[in-house]
């Protein structure tokens, strides 16, 4: 985190970035950051979702998975919820599991499956999500379908 007035820099994490896209980080309205990393443990790498104050304090582990990688981490406007996506395997946006978890780490819940993590767009009231969804066949690999999907959130 870089202070734009003083230039002061605070290193939040130097762990392996948790996303195969770029989007596993977002600010929360209370000034904290939410971000995903791949934690290198004794059992291999596991995805972890953390929150932290901008000065590096109050580091809190919100969620930990097993073998997945993150697609994206995004605050849902107007809510106390974080939307994150995890890839259950391979490089397939169509299999991404989109989940919500409270900013304080209450139990997470899957709300939809599929969609490019870099193309997620959430309405300003936090009620609707637009996703760009692609479908592939794998022998040989080719694109067989693409569409934009508008989902109304019910949480």
């Amino acid at each position: 985190v870089i202070d734009l007035e003083s230039g002061e820099r605070v290193l939040i994490s130097d762990e392996l970035w948790g996303s195969y896209a770029f989007d596993a980080l977002d600010w929360l309205p209370d000034g904290r950051l939410a971000y995903g990393v791949m934690h290198q443990g004794e059992q291999g790498a596991s995805p972890q979702l953390w929150t932290v104050q901008a000065d590096g304090s109050d580091l809190t582990l919100l969620w930990e998975g097993k073998l997945e990688r993150f697609g994206s981490v995004t605050w849902i406007p107007g809510t106390g919820l974080i939307l994150f996506s995890v890839d259950p395997g391979g490089y397939a946006d169509e299999n991404l599991s989109y989940r919500v978890i409270s900013m304080e780490g209450a139990t997470d819940k899957e709300i939809m499956v599929g969609g490019n993590p870099a193309s997620i767009s959430i309405s300003h009231d936090g009620r609707q999500i637009l996703r760009y969804v692609t479908r592939f066949s794998y022998d040989p690999l080719r694109l067989v379908g693409e569409e934009f999907v508008l989902t109304t959130l019910d949480y």
Partner: protein, 121 residues
């Protein structure tokens, strides 16, 4: 070419979007002009030249963040404010993206560094 709905377009508010003009080839390293486009009037205001236009960010309070060839730009086009900071990437191969805090006073920077083995594959 404006490609609505793609990663190159970000909603700003009910009447405006932020767009990075797509260059050919699609993954061209050339900087891409970033505009605030008013959907009612068609007015376009250039905010700067971004590298990797798909990583332009708009936060909930209206700050637009992107990387240029040598800086991180944090702009609020309605408040007419602009801050720049050098990312100080230690390796030329590093990739980065940035996102401004809601108050526009801080920016979170992600730097991705690749090992030599990863770069060679």
């Amino acid at each position: 070419v404006l490609q609505a709905g793609s990663p190159y377009t970000r909603a700003y508010d009910r009447n405006r979007v932020v767009v990075a003009i797509r260059e050919e080839p699609p993954l061209s390293p050339e900087p891409q002009p970033v505009y605030l486009l008013d959907l009612e009037t068609g007015d376009m205001t250039e905010l700067g030249q971004a590298v990797r236009g798909w990583l332009v960010r708009v936060n909930a309070t209206g700050y637009v963040t992107f990387l240029t060839d040598d800086s991180i730009e944090v702009i609020h086009p309605l408040l007419d404010t602009r801050s720049s900071v050098l990312p100080r990437l230690e390796e030329p191969e590093a990739e980065a993206y940035a996102e401004a805090a809601f108050d526009g006073r801080k920016v979170a920077l992600v730097e991705k560094h690749y090992s030599e083995a990863a770069l060679s594959t």
